[in-house]
Symmetry: D3
Subunit: 163 residues, 6 copies
Amino acid sequence: MSEFTHFNHQGRAKMVDITTKEESSRCAIAQSSITVNQAIYEGITSNQMKKGDVLAVAQVAGIMAAKQTSNMIPMCHPIPISGVDIQFEWIEKNSSFQLQIQVTVKTKGSTGVEMEALTAASVCALTIYDMCKALDKGMVIGQTYLTHKSGGKTGDFDRSSID
Amino acid sequence: MSEFTHFNHQGRAKMVDITTKEESSRCAIAQSSITVNQAIYEGITSNQMKKGDVLAVAQVAGIMAAKQTSNMIPMCHPIPISGVDIQFEWIEKNSSFQLQIQVTVKTKGSTGVEMEALTAASVCALTIYDMCKALDKGMVIGQTYLTHKSGGKTGDFDRSSID
Amino acid sequence: MSEFTHFNHQGRAKMVDITTKEESSRCAIAQSSITVNQAIYEGITSNQMKKGDVLAVAQVAGIMAAKQTSNMIPMCHPIPISGVDIQFEWIEKNSSFQLQIQVTVKTKGSTGVEMEALTAASVCALTIYDMCKALDKGMVIGQTYLTHKSGGKTGDFDRSSID
Amino acid sequence: MSEFTHFNHQGRAKMVDITTKEESSRCAIAQSSITVNQAIYEGITSNQMKKGDVLAVAQVAGIMAAKQTSNMIPMCHPIPISGVDIQFEWIEKNSSFQLQIQVTVKTKGSTGVEMEALTAASVCALTIYDMCKALDKGMVIGQTYLTHKSGGKTGDFDRSSID
Amino acid sequence: MSEFTHFNHQGRAKMVDITTKEESSRCAIAQSSITVNQAIYEGITSNQMKKGDVLAVAQVAGIMAAKQTSNMIPMCHPIPISGVDIQFEWIEKNSSFQLQIQVTVKTKGSTGVEMEALTAASVCALTIYDMCKALDKGMVIGQTYLTHKSGGKTGDFDRSSID
Amino acid sequence: MSEFTHFNHQGRAKMVDITTKEESSRCAIAQSSITVNQAIYEGITSNQMKKGDVLAVAQVAGIMAAKQTSNMIPMCHPIPISGVDIQFEWIEKNSSFQLQIQVTVKTKGSTGVEMEALTAASVCALTIYDMCKALDKGMVIGQTYLTHKSGGKTGDFDRSSID
């Protein structure tokens, strides 16, 4: 079994030293979702025709969260990320409505941006919850996970969407 | 259907005015989880015997995130939260290991702390992912949702854990 | 002449003590603007028909900035603001296009929210500059000032828009 | 007409990918101002003889704001800025007093620092407003704009001060 | 022996619940210091005659740190502080020069501001170190401690300066 | 005497320009301490056997503070730090108990990480104070200073622990 890398010889958490790691172009894609009822689905999608909408706010929140990741996740290295893109897709199943959230983060740096992508996806989903909770507090944020990672020495990672 | 409250008459997002709402004692409980493989499960639980451990770091991250909620979620009101408690519980199913994360947030204020509880639960799960991702990038953060809310005019909310 | 209140007896800046001030409902309205060329004007306004738009991003930035005001302005007291609303209006003059930005901030607290309204208006204008600067770096952010303030002991303040 | 670069193919805001842009030395200079009455002018300038003064606080606020720019402006890339300098100059016109604020920001990076210079200039002006508003809430923050930009592929930009 | 209050029944850190504590006027005073060589002492004190100076920057940093305390100290409650004042005093001993830093913080709230005062004093000393370290990296930040606390149920606390 | 580098030709504070400095591997080690009574000493050390403990929280706080240094110390350059490690050691003297805190910070950048190490050490000590202050407000944070610095053009710095 590989060892946990986040602990020093006193057994306490440390931020792992990456000083000697080479810089390379890196990319990570994460996925989350939120399932809402029909009233909220209609509210969000009809609003998209207007000037402001729920997803525009969530998009901004997700992008800003990507930049704040190392201030939220204690052992995460600060990385000057070079690009963030968030895509939405609605899936109707069994008369409930699931909004798929996919976040792509890129950087040129000494460590990966998996945490930035996962954090942006989570905050994006949380923001949608916040803006719709006056209608229904029963919304559920779905599974959140990495679907792709490339760049760096540990090799690529890919998984398909979880049903 | 109730209306979205987060939009002004130009159809743009606003932070809803709560100036005239009464202060009251409020509580919210949210739940999240993360499913890990056996190597990580053993690494985390055996580490708990030592001085530092993964869950201690995640606990701190979750509590600090609760305090940062209104800086992450755009339309969320700043609230001086008065207490945060996070509980962990391991559930073994089908030879995988799920860590249940339950966050309780309290305040005395003019609006609820649902977002603070949900955000703390998410950041707690993200932190565990971060500290174990050198062993396996395939961990999945489970569904994240509100299980209890009390205080305020809209009445109480309760739901049981989702399987 | 009244005295500067922000200095202690050593002549150094301090945060003025407001411990004994009564809480009251307070409101402040500030105004800023940004003048853009025709290409940008058309880009922004035609975009408003789509799902995302420049002003939606600026709106979120302004609201988040209102919440961060006391972290940016050194002697400004932290206040849990209770509402923020931002309105936009286009004015065409002499073949240039000026976007008027009006920010209303409300709170129930011991000190006013003038700085929150002014800061939100400025950050809103800065965000529009950022999103359009690939087209023209010559945009000018217009005068930024308070147009209304009510609540508190010092009385109300009102001024009309500056031409 | 050039295209807006801040939108993805869903028409939503994204943070533009700059992974492949070359690092180069970059510089941006922005200008803002604040116009105050005679009592405030005398208060600020006579205070400069003492140990603390309004402009020293504004200077610190502006420099700290330059470092926070990417946390305030949603689509702005985080850049480790390498230098900030702020200069003040008083201009008397028609018995009112205008403080000119000029901010120079430098970096060695993949994108420019126009937003950092503009943000620092705005926050500097806002801080002066904050520290003098007990004397007069009618102060006006003047036009804020870029006067110089160099470095990067898009070439240099220069404009003279606006009257 | 009293019990640690910062741990839940799982033995993990929590933010203590203060929902039912009464609001009262509270004050805390903390002290720190930094000892510098003669060249730095002369540089700082002669600079005080000019418009900018080291202590003015440190003062601003200390006040801003007081407002950020609950974001730095994990189990610390967010409190809207109502006043901060920082005083400096030079003491010459044995041909070295010690700058005494005294910070007073006030609030009207449900918990004390001891951490805010201590944090502001520390950050004030750290800022002076930062601005003078080009001359001598051997400066020492002295003992940092609480000298006074009043308000709240646990009674007052007073201690004299430590030699 | 060398000159202060943090002031512009107007005598005001600036962030020194490091655009042309070469990147190199850098390391800084800082030391702080906190002296506690026997009850607190026993509380902390016996707690180390359990899952959560005071030092685990302080460790996280110190690491997160290292990442926030340039947002707390006004003239400090933002640096993407590449590693942080914090070590604790108890020293009993004269029936009081002193916890030694040693912080090592590494980076590959254009300027040193002395401030990051000193800030992390201070915040670490402040966090321990916070978590134990219900037992005794008389704890004293000891001298805080640099013990080692390497990398960069100004050469190495080393000092032994101060008694």
